[in-house]
C-alpha cells in the first residue's frame, strides 16, 4: 500500500510542537496529517514542572478556559540544599492565580491530547499508533515524505515537519544532527504520588486551583542536575534531572536520587502518606542554542525537543512553550513555502528567521552560556552548601559570643566549601552577564 502525495504536509509526532505545526497548517487551509507513534497524543511524553501558556495567547484566545489544567502555579520556589539543610527563594503571586495566569501544572496525556484536538478541529488529520520509520527522498535527495510501520505505507508531502522528540531519529537520518552528544542531554525521572487535595492544600499553603512548583539544586549527590516537586490536583510529582554522562560515571541508579530527595527533611513532610501511582523517565535536550541541529533541509524542518528547543537555563526551565512556539512557526513557514512552491531549505529559511525574531531563539541565543554555568562544578557541588552555611552562619544565634560580620561568615562558608572569594566574584559576574 502506498499513499499518493495526498497531503500538503506531514507532521511527525503529536506532542506540543507537532500539534502546533499541524494547527498552523490546518488554519492556513493546508491538508496536513500528524503521525503519532503512541496510542494517543502525549502517551510517550513526560515533563518536569510547569507549562507556561503565554505562547498560546495569539494561537488560542482565552485558552485558559479550556486547557486541561491541574493547578495554576502561584508559588514558585528555588531551593538549594545539602543533606540536612535548605535555603529557598520562595515567590508567591496573587496575579499568577487569576486569568490570564502565568504557569500551570498539567498532565501530558491530557494537555497534549487537548492541543492535538485543537489541530484536528481545525482540519488536521491525526493517525495514532503509527511509527515514522524513515524518510522518503527523491532522486535529488529532497525529503518528499515518510515511511511508516503500517505495512511500510508511505505518506508523501512537499514538506515533512519532524517533531519526533528528543531522540529524533528523523533529524539524525536527514543529517541535520549527525551525532547526538550525551553531555548535551539529561535524564529526568519522576514519581507521581497520590495525595488527597486537602493534604496538598494544607501542606503547600494553597487552595482551590492554586499550585506550587519547587525547583531544587544540590539534591543529586554532586551529579550535575537538579530536582523538582510540584503539585497537581490530587497528586504531586517529584523527581530529578541529571546529566547523562555524569550519571553513568557515578554508577548511581536514578531512582536512588529520587529516594534521597523524598527523604530530605525539607521535602519529606510534603509527601507523608502518599502512594506511588506512576514512575516515568524521559530524556531532556538541555544543551541549548549551541547544540541545536540545522533546522531545515530540502523538504523538511525540525521543531520542539527534536530541535533541542528545551530551555534549561537554571532560573528558567521551560520546554513545552518552546515546543509550541517552534512548531507553530514551522507550520507557518511550511504554509509560506507551499504558497510559493519552494519547499527547499532555502524556501523554508523563514522558519529560522521567525524564531530569531521571537522568544524561541532570542531567549536561547541570549542564554546560550547558561547551561554550562548551571551545570558547572561550583554551581552544582559547592554553592548550595556554601549558601546554606552562609544562611546558617547569619541566622544562628551564638550568644554569648558576639555576632560574626557578614564578610567573616562568607569567608568561613567559602573556605569550608573550597571556594575562593575571587571565584565567587568571577561566577557572580559571569551569572550577571548571562542572566542580566
Amino acid at each position: 500500500m502506498t499513499e499518493p502525495s495526498a497531503f500538503d504536509a506531514v507532521v511527525v509526532g503529536a506532542g506540543p510542537a507537532g500539534s502546533a505545526a499541524a494547527l498552523a497548517l490546518a488554519r492556513a487551509g493546508r491538508s496536513v496529517v500528524m503521525v503519532e507513534r503512541g496510542p494517543f497524543a502525549g502517551s510517550k511524553n513526560v515533563y518536569g514542572g510547569v507549562v507556561y501558556g503565554r505562547v498560546l495567547d495569539d494561537i488560542i484566545p482565552t485558552w485558559w478556559n479550556e486547557v486541561p489544567v491541574e493547578r495554576w502555579v502561584v508559588r514558585r520556589s528555588t531551593m538549594m540544599m545539602t543533606e540536612d539543610q535548605s535555603l529557598a527563594i520562595d515567590y508567591r503571586s496573587h496575579a499568577w492565580g487569576v486569568a490570564p495566569y502565568n504557569g500551570m501544572t498539567t498532565v501530558r496525556s491530557h494537555f497534549d491530547s487537548w492541543l492535538a484536538g485543537q489541530a484536528t478541529e481545525a482540519g488536521a488529520q491525526l493517525v495514532t499508533s503509527t511509527v515514522a520509520t524513515g524518510l522518503v527522498r527523491d532522486s535529488a535527495g529532497r525529503v518528499i515524505g515518510i515511511r511508516t510501520d503500517r505495512d511500510g505505507a508511505e505518506l508523501r508531502a512537499p514538506v515533512v515537519i519532524a517533531c519526533d522528540g528528543v531522540n529524533s531519529l528523523l533529524a539524525k537520518e536527514a543529517g541535520l544532527l549527525p551525532r547526538a552528544e550525551a553531555s548535551h542531554y539529561t535524564l529526568g525521572v519522576k514519581e507521581v504520588l497520590d495525595l488527597p487535595a486537602e493534604a496538598i492544600n494544607e501542606r503547600f499553603g494553597v487552595r482551590g486551583h492554586e499550585g506550587v512548583d519547587i525547583e531544587i539544586l544540590g539534591c543529586t549527590r554532586g551529579i550535575p542536575g537538579g530536582g523538582f516537586l510540584y503539585t497537581n490536583a490530587e497528586t504531586v510529582s517529584v523527581g530529578v534531572v541529571v546529566s547523562l554522562p555524569h550519571l553513568a560515571e557515578a554508577k548511581v541508579r536514578p531512582e536512588e536520587l529520587i529516594a534521597d530527595l523524598k527523604a530530605h527533611p525539607s521535602i519529606a513532610p510534603y509527601l507523608r502518606g502518599s502512594h506511588l501511582r506512576e514512575y516515568a523517565a524521559h530524556l531532556v535536550p538541555e544543551g541549548g542554542y549551541d547544540t541545536m541541529p540545522t533546522l531545515a533541509a530540502d523538504g523538511m524542518m525540525v521543531a520542539g525537543d527534536a530541535a533541542a528547543m528545551t530551555l534549561a537555563a537554571g532560573l528558567w526551565l521551560e520546554g513545552v512553550n518552546f515546543a509550541i512556539g517552534s512548531g507553530y512557526a514551522a507550520g507557518r513557514a511550511a504554509d509560506r513555502a507551499i504558497a510559493v512552491g519552494d519547499c527547499s531549505a532555502r524556501g523554508l529559511a523563514s522558519y529560522r528567521a521567525d524564531l530569531e525574531n521571537q522568544f524561541v531563539l532570542a531567549d536561547h541565543k541570549r542564554l546560550r552560556k547558561a547551561p554550562a554555568l548551571v551545570l558547572s562544578e561550583r554551581v552544582q557541588q559547592r554553592y548550595p552548601g556554601l549558601l546554606c552555611d552562609l544562611a546558617e552562619g547569619m541566622f544562628t544565634v551564638t550568644n554569648p559570643t558576639p555576632k560574626a560580620g557578614g564578610l567573616r561568615v562568607t569567608r568561613a562558608a567559602a573556605a569550608k566549601h573550597g571556594v575562593k572569594l575571587r571565584e565567587l566574584a568571577v561566577d557572580t559576574i559571569r551569572g550577571m552577564r548571562i542572566f542580566g
Partner: protein, 125 residues
Amino acid sequence: MSEPGSVNETTGAADGSLPLGGDTTPTGALRWRGISFEERMAGVDFRVGARAHITVDSDVCRSCTTRGCVTACPANLFAPTSDGGILFNYEECFECGTCYMVCNSEGAITWTYPDGGHGVVFHHG
C-alpha cells in the same frame, strides 16, 4: 493490592488527614521506606509488542569496561552476566534513549521505537 511507595502502611492519608508516617532518624528527618523495583514498575502501563525494539550485541559488551547502561537505565533492563556479557530485556522499557546515549561501544546497542501503539504509555507524564 499492594501499595507501592507508601510511607507507612498504618498511616495512609486516604482519609485526608495529615498522618505522621515514616521512621524518624536521629536528626529528626523522616526516612522513607524503600520500595522494590518491581513495585516501582508495577504502576506503569506497558503494552508489550512482539518485536524487541532494542537489541544488544553481547559480544561487543564483553570488551566494555564502563557499562554505563547497567546503572543508568531507569528501567533497570541491563544485567551483566557471569561470562562478561550483558543480558537485556526490552519489555518494560521507557524508550528514553539513555542506554544508547551513555554507551561508548559503537554498535553494541541498536535502538529503535517499538511498533506503533506498543511500548510504554504514560498516563501522568
